[in-house]
């Protein structure tokens, strides 16, 4: 196994980005160190990136949200001359396993969406200031911003060279954002996506590929002007004090990863168990100030950051794990009290950020390509925010036996605080065909038992103690025996019922189209375009259309 990837970092450890805070403006400058990739078999030329670069970007956006809450506008820029970013590194993609490529793309997608989430929910606006050409993933990153400024030097362009040069597609929502977000006309999008060198200058503005142009000498001035425009009308944030994020690092003991509130154990049978424990009678902050004082030690925040770290490790370091058993421990009353705090203090900026963080981790769970079984056994507490974990699972097993009482519960947080990528709550998605059940569940506010949970439609199966063990064993053994590819496709199809959003399209098309193309001989066969790129050989296509 390759060396495990670590997802914890902080600005002083960044290799590829520089984060500068100037009052209500943050500058995030990309300066990729060629020889500091996660692996040594490729060189990150021309500000191209690998997962390590994106882990830092995601961390920087997170730091801005928590540690620099006074920031209104983030300027994304590049430190290289004439080139902003050349996108994902091709040599890295070529030498990666398929599973890694998919999870790399998924992570970068989540980072782009995280940027858009900060804009939508935290009043942090992003300007991507392209001081040079942005190609492929470089332009995809730019499109995640609210506004794009391109230098007009008669050479710098934005481009998607994936199809003409590599025989694949932009993997980070590029095509979707082109027509869904920027609403570029489809025929122009077609032309744009087949010109390797891209489109520059006035035409880039005319086609809405970028928003503004500025000459090199007027570039910084234009940046200032746009930042001023973007900051105008945003709420005053001057009196906010940042909350430091302490590192999340598990103690690893063979196959067990121990955090403060979460424990993950890798099984021998391609399964893993993740247990989240609610502390007994946790101190509840009474005000925003108290919540901020608790900061990254606030148990629910920390527990979900730990859960997030587990999910990333599972995806990228443990691709043999196919089934995750999700468990909780603690008292329903304690999680419901925490939910009450999250609801009561939601107008505080920090509590708002925490709520969005919980939302994001739950989405990460929705988007994890592993089978998820929620196991509500004795001592568990799937209630409120933690009920969302059960609802995110492909199946839920609830022990229903009067001698071994299992408590669950509902809070107002189940009513829409944590939308899925499809824009609906997990309850709405679950009961798409019986919308009245959503109301029935929400009316059951507070704690209830397994019997009631089953009546409310929350259990896939609710065996008694006699059947429990065997039923679980059979379900697990069966699950890990199925084709992992079929399961990934099946689960992704079933998880996101209901409307499409830009987010579901991005992930759906990543799974369906990009991943398909990434597997095809025309891309990765001996004479596939991706294989041949940068080598002396030209691709040879099988021109049969499917």
């Amino acid at each position: 196994m390759a060396e495990a990837i670590n997802f914890e970092t902080e600005p002083s450890k960044y290799k590829h980005w520089k984060l500068e805070i100037e009052g209500e403006r943050a500058r995030l400058i990309m300066q990729v160190k060629e020889d500091q990739g996660l692996r040594s078999d490729y060189i990150l030329k021309l500000n191209s990136y690998d997962l390590g670069v994106d882990i830092e970007l995601a961390d920087a956006v997170r730091r801005i949200r928590y540690e620099h809450p006074q920031v209104k506008v983030v300027v994304l820029g590049g430190a290289m001359d004439r080139i902003f970013c050349a996108g994902a590194n091709i040599m890295m993609l070529r030498s990666s396993t398929h599973a890694f490529k998919v999870n790399f793309c998924k992570f970068t997608n989540e980072t782009r969406l995280y940027i858009e989430d900060a804009s939508e929910n935290s009043n942090i606006k992003f300007l991507c200031a392209l001081n040079g050409t942005a190609s492929g993933g470089g332009y995809e990153l730019a499109m995640a911003a609210d506004r794009i400024l391109l230098v007009d030097d008669r050479s710098s362009a934005v481009s998607f060279p994936e199809t003409p040069l590599l025989g694949v597609l932009p993997g980070t929502g590029g095509l979707t954002r082109l027509v869904d977000k920027r609403k570029v006309r489809r025929d122009r999008a077609d032309v744009f996506s087949t010109i390797a060198e891209g489109i520059k200058g006035k035409r880039a503005v005319e086609w809405n590929l970028v928003d503004d142009l500025a000459s090199l000498s007027a570039f910084e001035e234009k940046v200032d002007e746009i930042v001023g425009e973007m900051a105008a009308g945003l709420p005053d944030k001057a009196d906010r004090k940042g909350v430091a994020l302490k590192p999340i690092l598990p103690t690893i003991d063979d196959r067990t990863f121990r955090y403060q509130y979460v424990t993950m154990t890798l099984g021998e049978d391609r399964s893993a168990e993740v247990v989240l424990t609610v502390p007994a009678a946790p101190v509840q902050p009474k005000s925003g100030a108290e919540a901020q004082a608790a900061g990254s030690d606030w148990w629910v925040f920390k527990a979900f950051r730990e859960l997030d770290d587990c999910l990333l490790r599972l995806r990228l370091n443990h691709d043999q794990v196919g089934l995750v058993l999700l468990k909780t421990r603690g008292a329903v009353a304690d999680i419901l009290a925490t939910d009450a705090t999250l609801e009561a203090l939601k107008d505080d900026w920090f509590v708002n950020e925490v709520r969005h963080h919980l939302k994001r981790v739950l989405k990460r769970l929705d988007l994890t390509a592993k089978s998820l079984f929620a196991i509500a056994d004795e001592g568990s507490c799937f209630a409120g925010t933690l009920l969302e974990i059960l609802l995110a699972a492909d199946r839920s097993y609830i022990l229903n036996d009067p001698d071994f009482p299992v408590a669950l519960g509902v809070s107002t947080m189940n009513g829409g605080a944590y939308p899925m990528p499809n824009g609906l709550s997990r309850l709405q998605t679950r009961f798409l065909g019986e919308p009245e059940r959503v109301g029935q569940v929400l009316e059951a506010l507070g704690e209830f038992d397994a019997e009631r949970a089953d009546e409310l439609g929350l259990a896939t199966s609710a065996p008694d103690e006699i059947d429990w063990e065997d039923e679980l064993r059979v379900a697990i053994e069966e699950r890990v025996s199925f084709s992992p590819d079929a399961l990934t496709g099946m689960e992704a199809n079933l998880r996101f019922a209901g409307p499409e959003t830009m987010e579901t399209k991005i992930f759906g098309r990543l799974s369906a189209w990009q991943n398909w193309i990434f597997q095809r001989p025309n891309a990765v066969g001996e004479r596939g375009a991706l294989t041949c790129y940068g080598t002396p050989n030209r691709p040879e296509f099988n021109f049969q259309r499917t």
């Binding site: 007009d152 008669r154 050479s155 390797a196 060198e197 090199l216 002396p536």
Partner: protein, 470 residues
């Protein structure tokens, strides 16, 4: 307005019946003249200059001499006559019929190649626009203008290709060639060497020796192109490029000769007392321009170079004559890779090393020129050998840009580089000295004190001929 195209624009591309080309030129030609007026040689547009004009591609037509005002120069469009049944000479299409039209799948690659080459032509005119004021003689002034109008013609040749074969995109690129400006912070020329002004005549001679020789090698590689109109266009341009290098090489040689004369007349004395340029200083100018021109060939290991070769768009210099195998597959090329600490010889796939292959031919050609200059010092019994710095020296592009190297190519640390760079490259004092020597000498038969007269004039005219009527 109807224009008599064949008269105004000498050509062998049947311009008078090509409506597409006429339409394109109607708009572009006035813009070109505006550009020339704004960015061409300053203050000499109303002077009669003894220039060579090509009016056809045959032996009598390609070099017609006469006085002409530069804005009235007849910039023509010439392609070397077609070769019957020409085949693609290299790459994956080896042996297939050469393309007379642009193959759709290579349109963007080809356009990029042509635009990059074309951009250097007006750039060099812009870089040299102020030199007329400090010309060391009318002979040199005329040579400068000859170089300038021919670079202008090379731009025409490339624009012809853009107009004729690349539709609307090609017309837009042609316009942008007139909008970018050398050294302009907002709209710079594409390649960085072409954004540095040529401030003095020694630099001009170095530029025409080294940078124009890069042009020669790029043209040699494109002259092999499977896209026949590009190949034929470049072949004709090569005949003109030879003159530019002649101007540069003899200019440096005359500077050396003058210094040697002073050294002989005043043995043991500092030649700067007599207004000559010390040989060591000339070597520094050579080091600067030879190294920046070496950068123009691009990265040592290049996917683009491999692609262009595979696609049959850009070959090696003298591909047919010099090589037995033309697919360049399953062959390696040894490159001394710089890993940040040391140089390690490594074989890379030949196609990916095409930039380096071309750079090697170029470097060897430069080295021959150093021998010629050394012969001049030897003829005065002065033991001074000129040399071309190693390709690793003073690089800004490619893997060697990360390290520091002596002119002999030996790796050194940054401190050593900083301590010694003044021995190898012009110092501000050197530049101030050479700049001070640059005073105009605009009388027929007179030559500035830092340079010897040429051994003979242009087109059998004397060295005292009135090459530019002031």
């Amino acid at each position: 307005m109807s224009i008599n195209y064949s008269e105004k624009i000498p050509n062998n591309v049947d311009l008078s019946s090509d409506r597409r080309l006429q339409r394109a030129l109607e708009k572009w030609q006035p813009a070109y003249l505006d550009w020339w007026a704004e960015m061409g040689p300053t203050d000499f547009n109303d002077k009669d200059v003894y220039l060579r004009t090509a009016v056809s591609v045959d032996r009598d037509g390609w070099a017609q001499f006469g006085y002409v005002k530069m804005p009235d120069y007849r910039w023509g469009i010439f392609l070397t006559p077609p070769e019957k049944d020409r085949k693609v000479g290299f790459g994956d299409h080896l042996g297939e019929a050469a393309w007379q039209e642009v193959p759709g799948e290579y349109r963007n690659s080809l356009r990029r190649l042509i635009v990059t080459q074309a951009d250097t032509e007006p750039a060099s005119v812009e870089q040299q626009r102020l030199l007329g004021h400090t010309a060391p003689s009318l002979y040199d002034l005329r040579n400068l203008f000859q170089v300038n109008v021919e670079e202008g013609r090379h731009l025409w040749a490339m624009v012809y290709l853009l107009h004729s074969y690349f539709g609307k995109d090609g017309r837009e690129e042609a316009e942008e060639l007139l909008e970018r400006r050398s050294g302009n912070a907002d709209r710079p020329r594409i390649l960085s060497t072409f954004n540095e002004p040529v401030q003095d005549w020694l630099s001009f001679f170095c530029f025409t020796t080294f940078t124009d020789r890069d042009g020669k090698y790029q043209l040699l590689a494109l002259a092999e192109s499977g896209f026949d109109p590009l190949a034929r266009s470049c072949r004709f341009m090569l005949t003109e490029e030879a003159h530019h290098m002649f101007v540069g090489q003899t200019g440096i040689n005359r500077t050396i000769q003058r210094t040697c004369e002073v050294m002989k007349a005043h043995p043991g004395e500092d030649v700067t007392k007599y207004g000559a340029i010390p040989l060591e200083m000339i070597q520094k100018w050579i080091n600067r321009w030879a190294s920046s021109s070496v950068d123009l060939f691009g990265a040592e290991i290049s996917s683009n170079a491999a692609t262009f070769f595979a696609q049959g768009l850009k070959g090696r210099a003298h591909e047919e004559k010099n090589y037995e195998r033309h697919d360049a597959l399953d062959e390696g090329y040894a490159i001394a890779k710089w890993d940040g600490k040391s140089l390690v010889n490594e074989d890379v796939p030949l196609r990916n090393a095409m930039n380096e292959v071309l750079r090697t031919d170029y470097w060897n050609d430069n080295a021959k020129q150093a021998v010629v200059w050394t012969k001049t010092t030897a003829s005065f019994d002065i033991p001074f050998e000129f040399s071309i710095p190693d390709r690793r020296f003073n690089r800004k592009i490619g893997m060697y840009a990360d390290g520091f190297f002596t002119p002999a190519g030996e790796p050194i640390d940054e401190a050593t580089w900083n301590a010694r760079r003044g021995e190898w490259l012009p110092t501000p004092e050197d530049e101030a000295y050479v700049k001070a020597l640059m005073v105009k000498c605009h009388e027929p038969g007179k030559y500035a004190g830092w340079i010897a007269p040429p051994s003979k004039g242009i087109n059998d005219q004397g060295v005292d001929f009135e090459y530019v009527k002031m």
